[in-house]
Symmetry: C2
Subunit: 310 residues, 2 copies
């Protein structure tokens, strides 16, 4: 595959660039009379009290003997103490002393300041883009330590309407081959949703994580007794974590709290995952029929849930 080669070449280009950049930062480290290895160890020590030398060596990819010497050096400077151990007397958990912390702190500050200096020329939008890009890269390169952040459900704000339309358009084009008229349909529905929006009868939930769009769902008033669930979407990357269920659950809770008697929704037979969610909440299929739309022959379905029962 040629694409893979190209992508790998890009990765290498990045690595070259980054080692060059970091090389510069390393030199600065050195003018504090500490080697890169020492700084890395010190950083780990300051972050995690009580690690073992062997753990550090493994994680930082350093030779155990070398690690031992590094730590001996720190011990000589009274930056660390190695408590002989409790249960297992082979182990000597390493604890940073007050002096150790004091030695690390200016280094840490300098490193922080350098990172800030690197970012300073960027305006905040660019900085956000950079941070997001770095996070993405780290995650995709398999850094387990990158905590994915919580999934947040929130109501709509500027930009969401478009995002919802965009992802509907792209995903249904990709997965089912629907043409751009589907996206236009969604955009029109969304436009009317905003234009006629009444917060006490209708609502939208946008699911996101780390600012990344994960999914959405809308409840609109069909008539005073009937709420309509619309535009449920879960991003491929967010599937299999119960987000669809969570979103539909919010809709039902909202509709109940607003005294709707029933909830209906219009969907399509090809959307299997969504159907399972609807079924699991007790929606019943009350009508279906062939129609042709978005360049495809489809079977549309209407589902209904009685909100009074249960």
């Amino acid at each position: 595959m040629n694409q893979l080669k190209h992508d790998a070449a890009q990765l290498r280009a990045f690595n070259r660039f980054h080692t060059g950049r970091i090389g510069v930062l390393q030199e600065r480290m050195l003018d504090s009379r500490l080697s890169l290895a020492q700084v890395r160890v010190l950083y780990e020590l300051s972050a995690r009290n009580g690690v073992l030398a062997s753990q550090l060596a493994r994680e930082l990819g350093l030779d155990p003997g070398y690690m031992s010497r590094l730590l001996a050096g720190f011990r000589r400077k009274r930056w660390i103490t190695t408590a002989p151990a409790s249960s297992d007397k082979r182990r000597r958990p390493i604890v940073l002393t007050k002096a150790g912390r004091a030695a690390f702190e200016p280094l840490d500050r300098r490193s922080q300041a350098e990172a800030e200096a690197l970012l300073a020329p960027l305006d905040s939008a660019r900085r956000r883009r950079l941070v997001e890009a770095l996070r993405t890269a780290r995650e995709l390169l398999g850094d387990e330590s990158v905590a994915p952040g919580p999934v947040v459900l929130r109501q709509h704000r500027p930009g969401d309407i478009g995002m919802v339309a965009k992802r509907h358009g792209e995903l249904y084009a990709e997965e089912y081959g629907w043409d751009e008229r589907f996206e236009a349909l969604v955009a029109g529905i969304l436009a009317r949703f905003i234009e006629n929006f009444r917060a006490e009868r209708e609502r939208c939930w946008i699911a996101e994580r780390d600012g990344q769009f994960l999914g959405c769902v809308f409840v609109v008033e069909k008539n005073p007794d009937t709420a309509q669930l619309r535009m449920l979407l879960v991003e491929p990357a967010a599937r299999g974590m119960g987000l669809g269920k969570q979103l539909v659950g919010e809709c039902i809770r909202f509709a109940r709290s607003k005294r709707y008697r029933r909830m209906v929704l219009w969907t399509n037979s090809v959307l299997d995952a969504a159907r399972h969610v609807y079924e699991s909440f007790g929606f019943r299929l009350i009508e279906q029929g062939k129609h042709s739309a978005f360049g495809k022959e489809l079977v549309e379905q209407t589902w209904e849930l009685d909100l009074a029962v249960d």
Copy 2:
């Protein structure tokens, strides 16, 4: 600013992760009996014939003395020849020999293979995201060598409608404080644009670079003689490079070719940059009036251009 601190911390986290990762790759390098510095120099030599030792030393951040020794080593192995020089006899442009190329090739292949192995577990969508993220990071961190790719103008496809609405919504909210009803208005217009689309009378241009949305503009039929220019948008990141002019130029050319007699557009007094573009093409303000919309008091304007003249 606390955000800067946080962003810098993210950058540092990335750097730590990356040095760890690359550390691993470096070890592998070593089992070819070459140091990282040697490999880096070799890479540069293979990429650019005839560099000077001093250039290399500067660019790779290595000591000139060390560089001299590295090169002496290569010379001993007959991997390079240093032509004594032509005009300036101090300089000795370095040329990689056939043997040098042969020595570098397996290294290069191995490094390429390792990069590919790192990417292999990712599906192509993720890989694209990763490559895009790395490119973004490189660019924002100030790698001049990252060529920004050409600006491409294309017609619309699924996802564009939403993107156009989204960016209108976000940008006008940010820059002018307009609320989400503006986005809804745009979404509605876009929905109708798609629903009634006739390629021989109407068109949309999406400007992008490296897959990144840069701007857009639409031409729709107002009546058989009159084309309407709508939804001109240029991303902040793309301003000042004449993209607005280019987009409007496309519109006018298109409208002329479709035998429209005139072009009109509706805009708003606050949009200075756009107004300048319109004026530069000879649009004349034919009507304006206060109105209130999107949560603001605004002055709307109608501009017209006679397509017959000129």
